[in-house]
Symmetry: C2
Subunit: 691 residues, 2 copies
């Protein structure tokens, strides 16, 4: 230990004093919850028992969230989270999206093939083990390789020892590593879903908006060994009204935020990333809308993908609006300038961290060159078809399986194989006409953006993309899960000799695609991680370790208060009611997307119209939080998060609790609808424990 | 030990008695030379010293042969073996093929880039180690994998321990494995070459014929550390005349024979293999001839490849003629029937070996399905260009380097990498117009034979193969060895992202190509090796172990006597003379390929016309033996093998010494020409040790 007095420059002191957290900011890992803030601000004791109960009651649902709400494996999530599954269970004869669904008995519950839910059991700090894998003198890329290999062995080991699926989670851009251990469930059945019309009431216009009137819920049940899963850890239903100012806490899997990104990274997102993606989503929205207009069946099959595209598009435009906000960017620039100045002022900090920002900025330049082809090839935007996705997975699975675990592409490492294979072999229905339309649209885009590459010239020649897409889709046999299974079983040789055109396409573009990914991982990602970790360390040293990490699609706790807000001078109350729902529908002539389903038309008189339907609170959230249970101090379920208001979108980069709100379905609204509109007595008994 | 008396069925005894070796048959590994035969038949003691001296004086020259003929690293081989090198040293300004070459001083010797010669130092029996790698219960394919991995580790280990290049050689179709250790030399310089016109006098018409009048020789010198290699082990020049009946022995690297193949394998060769290859060589000959007619320079650059194609074509037609010979095939069928009957008659043999022939026959059926695409893709016959070869090597090198040694394709294992890289980086000149012509021709063939594969459709579309070939050749930058080097250095990522069209082509067809190879190795080769070994074991048990193994492109000794023969009632003496040369030239009006070079025209009067030029002997040989030194009992050099007569070609499958002859340049003819025609006193002094 150096015993000399530590010299703290004035600028640094100023920085420490001037940078408190922004209000209720924070998507907190369950083992990093700031108990002191909860205690001091809300006089709330987040005991280990309280947190563990919430963690074990929280369900990871695809990339989103859900919760156990009965001791019998009953899972509540958003309708829009379960939408793909519900659409897959539908046919042109039985459209569950349109009619809704309720299994009055367990025997009627519908099996959802290919679905996988998981519950986080444990978190372990493995930062030391990961950082020990990096040796002094390694380049960024070498360090990335070393980490990747350490990830793989920790995950595999963890899995072998615990029987749980393990995943290393990188926090603070590489400043911290935790091993997450999940219990995985694969027998999932649909219990209840309302009609799409009420679940998504207000459609795209109301999306990311408040006031709001959507019953965005559905229920599934997990089975194990043919029996409903026993879930002693579940959330009891709320027992008293929510009031303004009440503390509420949300537990879910927010996807990603960019609050710790450097200014150069934000510029990249603003100038390169979002413009390209927004344009791509706009193209796809137009295509899906046009396809839906071809007929009833086309409209049915295009619905779920269209909703998903519309949601992403609106979100990205919102995110980008933050980056286009000069005040926000100035604030970011200023904060970074202050931090860098503080680092520059302390010789040791300067030596260790001084170059990190410039390194990251240089990586953004490299990224800009790679970005478009990376999106088209590796992200598959040039080949927009589930068939291409299957084909590429088949090709890579065969190739990667031959390699030692630590050398494989991340998604093909042992720890991830079961899940990957399940997705690959999913029997979800595929509409070939939709696939042709999507693929043709993306191939046209591909020709425009990458038409000079030899791969694209070979594939398209002078032919219309529609012809090529039709040939590929009508030629492939990958629709049959059994055919996909056969490739998995037979391995590389069968893949290499396949005459399936979709497999050939995947083989054709894979080298280029892998090359782009390798370059990205080496020249961009590895540099961002190494230097991002340095920026974080500098931050920790200067501001303490109480900064929340950016979201990483893993379980997080956020908290805030039930609270309305003022928008353009208009006071918006924190909750809406069924009364407002009927009024809004009438205002738009009961036309889509404001059309009420028959059930709600028929049962209007039965409903207590003043019961709250949706509400808002200041707790932090981002895409992936959809389906998060929101609880009160007692840990009781009081709402299910399904959206953020439009003002919450720029919070991807800078949180502000002045206008930023998460939007929930109110626990009382859910009860009222189940009881009066859907007459689901057994389900009500189950969640209320009344039987 | 089972102490019961061994029961030998009568049929077996008959077999043992009826199957002596056919005359001087046998291409014997240097450690398996049948000393008793040499002793009893020729009263010759092949002492270990005698054999070691010959072994260390023998040089492996590409796929062919040569020998040290002075203590200063001087290597003698055939002009047609050195032809590619001599052509590579030529330009349109200096055509060494036409003019010949002589370096009167060492300073004038011409460096031959990319050439690699080697000398076999040691042979070690590793049969036990290889067979131990195969575990009971393994499938043929698994056993093949296990052997491959054992090969790789033995070779790598051997190399590390001895500093020598090591290669496991599979003998008797898998019945025996030896590890060969080579010293490798890479600084090779041209010393002397006669004019192509005399080296290849008689051209294609006289090829595989006798009487013959070719001075098919040239001299190189190996350097080490900038100095001529010291070679105490070298062959002294003959000191007395050769006479009819003299024992002579040849030491070289015969490529392959098929004398131990089963009847089903011979049928495959006859009905599938040769017909396809003969047609392909005919197409290529026509193409090269047409190209050569375009002008002097075109004629020059097409010469070496044309000679090579013509030679292969004539050889294959000859090989196939054996298989079309009903008497020969009946003899083969009968021998196999007898052997199988003997096996069937002994229960233990039946149990262990009984099914081997049927298994091999089944593998031939699998081979027939794979064969054509395998030739077109994996053997590269559909992409006839050195550029494609370079591109594929680059692609595979990058991919294979990522794998553990034992998992790689054979040619990319550590033991073979230095040599492979040297070939890849060779600065040999490339004529782009010739490449375009060759590639276009093979692409047209590819479209005809594999036009329905998606790879070919993508590559060719509806375009003329000439256009595609021109685009590929004019687009590639692989002409520059430096560019190839850069890919080697930068590895997989650079390859995957390359925009070089030839690299893209290699990437496009590689999966299919690899798949075909994997299928071949698994379904054909592995089955042939496993069951070929069983057939050999049965043969060993029934006929003893004195059967020579088939040729495997490794050092072998063969022996026989200097002897003429009777063809169509005409007695053909064992040697030709310079007199015959002039007569034959005159008979054809001194027109190509019977045109004499100026030197021979000018020096006719100086020559002693009765000096022997070429001669024949009964010793066994096959392609790859070209350049083999032929020695007398004293181990003195008496000739250099350069051909077999037309009757020797069917001996690929069944040897007969009645008409079967190897053709040599006579040691006295070489001296006479060097002295009287070329006036190469220093060279003569060196080989005769007269200075």
């Amino acid at each position: 230990m150096n015993k000399k007095a530590v010299f703290i420059p004035v600028a640094l002191l100023v920085l420490i004093l001037l940078n408190p957290l922004h209000g209720d900011e924070g998507l907190w890992p369950l083992n990093l919850v700031p108990k002191s803030i909860l205690k001091s601000r809300y006089n709330f004791e987040a005991t280990p028992e309280w947190l563990t109960h919430l963690q074990l009651s929280s369900v990871r649902f695809g990339g989103a969230s859900g919760s156990f709400v009965s001791p019998f494996g009953l899972v509540l999530t958003n309708h829009h989270v379960g939408r793909g599954i519900i659409q897959n269970l539908s046919t042109d004869q039985r459209d569950l999206m349109k009619t809704g669904f309720y299994a009055r008995t367990r025997g009627e519950e519908l099996k959802c093939p290919g679905v996988e839910l998981s519950v986080l059991q444990k978190i372990e700090d493995v930062t030391g083990q990961i950082l020990a894998a990096e040796k002094p003198g390694m380049t960024s890329a070498e360090a990335a390789e070393a980490r990747k290999s350490a990830f793989a062995s920790l995950e595999k080991q963890g899995q072998e020892r615990s029987g749980l699926r393990c995943a290393v989670v990188q926090l603070y851009s590489g400043g911290m590593y935790h091993l997450y251990k999940y219990k995985v469930y694969t027998d999932v059945r649909l219990v209840f879903a309302p009609e799409f019309a009420i679940a998504k009431f207000g459609g795209d216009p109301d999306n990311f908006c408040f006031p709001r009137y959507a019953l965005d819920i559905c229920f599934f049940r997990i089975y194990e060994n043919g029996q409903p899963l026993s879930t002693p850890q579940y959330l009891k239903w709320g027992t008293r009204d929510l009031e303004g100012g009440d503390l509420v806490l949300a537990s879910g899997n927010p996807g990603s935020t960019g609050r710790l990104l450097t200014y150069a990274q934000l510029e990249f997102l603003r100038d390169t990333y979002y413009p390209f993606l927004i344009e791509d989503y706009q193209r796809r929205r137009a295509l899906l809308q046009a396809f839906g207009r071809l007929g009833t069946e086309q409209s049915r099959v295009a619905l779920a993908p269209l909703m998903s595209v519309e949601n992403s598009l609106k979100a990205m435009i919102g995110y980008r609006s933050g980056l286009l906000d000069e005040a926000l960017m100035d604030k970011k620039a200023e904060a970074e300038r202050d931090l860098r100045r503080a680092v520059e002022g302390a010789p040791v900090l300067k030596r260790d961290y001084g170059r990190a920002w410039d390194e990251i900025a240089a990586a953004q330049k490299a990224y800009a060159v790679l970005f478009k082809p990376l999106q088209l090839f590796e992200q598959g935007r040039g080949f927009d078809s589930v068939y291409f996705g299957y084909a590429r997975t088949i090709v890579r699975l065969a190739e990667e399986s031959k390699k030692p675990d630590g050398d494989r592409l991340k998604e093909f490492q042992d720890a991830n194989l079961a899940s990957l294979t399940r997705r690959l072999l999913s029997p979800s229905p595929i509409d070939d006409n939709l696939e042709i339309a999507k693929l043709a649209g993306s191939l046209a885009e591909l020709r425009e953006d990458a038409g000079t590459t030899i791969e694209v010239r070979w594939l398209l020649g002078d032919r219309p993309p529609e012809d090529v897409a039709r040939e590929l889709v009508s030629g492939t046999r990958l629709k049959e899960p059994g055919v996909r299974k056969r490739y998995v079983d037979q391995g590389l040789e069968a893949v290499y000799q396949s005459s399936d055109p979709m497999i050939s396409l995947a083989l054709l573009v894979d080298p280029l695609s892998r090359g782009l990914r390798a370059s990205y991982e080496k020249e961009v990602e590895a540099v961002e991680v190494r230097n991002g970790a340095l920026v974080t360390q500098a931050l920790f040293k200067l501001k303490g370790t109480s900064i929340p990490p950016d979201a990483t699609s893993t379980l997080r706790l956020s908290f805030g208060v039930v609270k309305g807000y003022v928008e353009n001078g208009v006071r918006i109350p924190f909750a809406t009611t069924f009364k407002g729902l009927y009024e809004r529908s009438m205002k738009f002539g009961d036309k889509p997307p404001f059309e009420l389903p028959e059930s709600f038309q028929a049962k209007k008189s039965a409903l207590r119209l003043d019961v709250p339907l949706d509400f808002v609170a200041t707790c932090d959230s981002i895409g992936g939080n959809s389906g998060s249970p929101v609880v009160n101090r007692k840990g009781e379920f009081v709402g299910i998060l399904f959206d953020g208001n439009i003002q919450s979108l720029p919070a991807r980069f800078v949180y502000s609790d002045e206008l930023n709100r998460s939007v929930m379905v109110h626990f009382q609204g859910i009860l009222e609808a189940l009881k009066k509109v859907y007459d689901t007595a057994p389900l009500l008994d189950e969640i209320l424990g009344t039987k």
